[in-house]
Subunit: 231 residues, 2 copies
C-alpha cells in the first residue's frame, strides 16, 4: 500500500517514515521547501529518502516569505537558551501561520494523484512548543476537511492522516527510531544552523532534541556547534 510521508528532514518525520515502512507501506516522500532559513533540511530529507528506499520523492516550493509572520521564514529572530517553562508559555515566534494545513493540503493532493490512501506526518503534541496545528483535534478536523474536499473522499473512503508520534515524548521517539533503524544520523532539527548545517544546540528544537536523546539513553549522532560529542 502506498503512503505519502511529509518529510522535513527532521527527527520526527524520519521516525514516522520508518514506522510507515515497517507497516509495509511503499513510501512516497513529499518535502515542502517554504523559504525556511534552514534549507539544509531539504538536502537531509533527500538523503533520508534514499536511505529508506522511497519509490519517489517530490519537492514542492512554496514561498511563505511572501505572506510573512514567523522566525522560521526570516521575519523575527529565533529565540535561544529558553527554559522549558518559557517554551511552554505561549505560541512561539517560530510558529509559521497555517503551515501544517498547507503541508497536509499538498500531501493529500499528492496522495490523490498517486492513489495513496495514507499520509504520514511527524506531528507531536508533547514537545511541540505550542504549535496549534500539531494538536490532535486539528489533525482530525483536517482529515474530515480532506474527505469532503477531494475526489478520493467523494468517490471512495478518503485519505487517512496518520500521526504515529502524536502522543510520544521525544525520548520515546528516539527509542522508536533506534529500534527501527531510522537514519537518525542524517536528520536535522536546528532552527538556526550554521551555513554548513551544524546545529546550534541552543534553540528550542535543539534543546528538546538533546534532552530526548539523553532521556532515551542514547548519544545524538549529529554535530553541534562548539561541542566535542560529534561523530
Amino acid at each position: 500500500m502506498k503512503a505519502v510521508v511529509l518529510a522535513s528532514g527532521g527527527l520526527d518525520s524520519t521516525v514516522a517514515a520508518a514506522l510507515a515502512k515497517r507497516e509495509g507501506h511503499e513510501l512516497f516522500f513529499l518535502t515542502v521547501q517554504y523559504g525556511q532559513r534552514h534549507e539544509v533540511e531539504v538536502e537531509r530529507a533527500l538523503a533520508i529518502g534514499r536511505a529508506l528506499g522511497v519509490s519517489d520523492h517530490r519537492i514542492v516550493q512554496v514561498d511563505l516569505r511572501s505572506i510573512g509572520g514567523s522566525a522560521l521564514t526570516g521575519d523575527v529572530p529565533v529565540p535561544k537558551g529558553r527554559s522549558a517553562a518559557d517554551r511552554a508559555a505561549a505560541i512561539p515566534v517560530t510558529y509559521v501561520p497555517a503551515r501544517n494545513s498547507l503541508f497536509l493540503s499538498l500531501a493529500v493532493g499528492y496522495a490523490e494523484t498517486i492513489g495513496a490512501r495514507r499520509v504520514y506526518i511527524g506531528a507531536n503534541v508533547v514537545d511541540y512548543s505550542g504549535y496549534p496545528d500539531c494538536r490532535p483535534e486539528f489533525l482530525r478536523a483536517f482529515e474530515t476537511t480532506a474527505r469532503l474536499g477531494t475526489r478520493a473522499g467523494v468517490e471512495g473512503q478518503g485519505i487517512e492522516i496518520c500521526a504515529p508520534l502524536l502522543h510520544k515524548s521525544k525520548a520515546e521517539i528516539v527509542r522508536l527510531g533506534m529500534a527501527h533503524q531510522a537514519p537518525l544520523h542524517l536528520t536535522h532539527s536546528c532552527y538556526d544552523p550554521a551555513p554548513d548545517g551544524t546545529a546550534c544546540g541552543r534553540c528550542d528544537s535543539c534543546q528538546i532534541r538533546l534532552a530526548g536523546f539523553e532521556a532515551a539513553g542514547f548519544t545524538d549522532p549529529i554535530t553541534y556547534a562548539g561541542r566535542e560529542e560529534s561523530v
Copy 2:
C-alpha cells in the same frame, strides 16, 4: 476591517472582492501562482486589485506541477465543447487535487499575519463543474480546521471563511458584479487561452461564463477567439 480575498483573476473572485469592498472591508488580495497553464490570470488579478483599490496584493508561488494530477497544471488535455450534462456527470480533469484546501491554508496564514478576520473566496456550487472542494460542507469543515490550527483560532475567535457566491447562479453573479461596479472587463475565465490571453470560448469555464452573461441580459465585455462580439 481587513479582509483577505483569494483573487484568481476570474469572474467569481472579482465579484466576491467587490462584495467584500461594499461591506466596508479594507482589501488584501492573495493570488496563488500554481503553475497553471493560464498565467495570464495573475496579470489580470493584479489589474483587478488596482481597480478595486487594494491595500496590498501578495503573489505566492506554489509549483503544483511537481505533484501533478490535473488538466489545469498541464498533465491532461482540457476538454472542449462539452454539454452541460457532460460537465455535470463527473469530477472533471480540470479538478486540481486539494487546490482550495491549499489556497485557503495560504489565505488563512496571510490573514493571521496581517490580523484579518475574514477570508473571501469565490467558490460556487451551482456552476462549479463538480469540484468537491467548492462544496459548502468542505468550506465549513475548513473553517473549523483553521480555527483549531491557528494562533488566531486558539487565542481569539478564529478566521471566518466567506463564500458570498456559494449558492448563486452564474447569471446572478454577473448581475451582482454589474450592480457593484466589479471590473468584469478585466476578468479571465478560460481554461485554455491563446498566448495573448484571448479566451477560447469552448472550454467548460468559457461556456458557463457566456451562458451566465446571456441569462443575465448583459454582453460579456471580454474578447473570445474567432468571435465578433469583442469590445
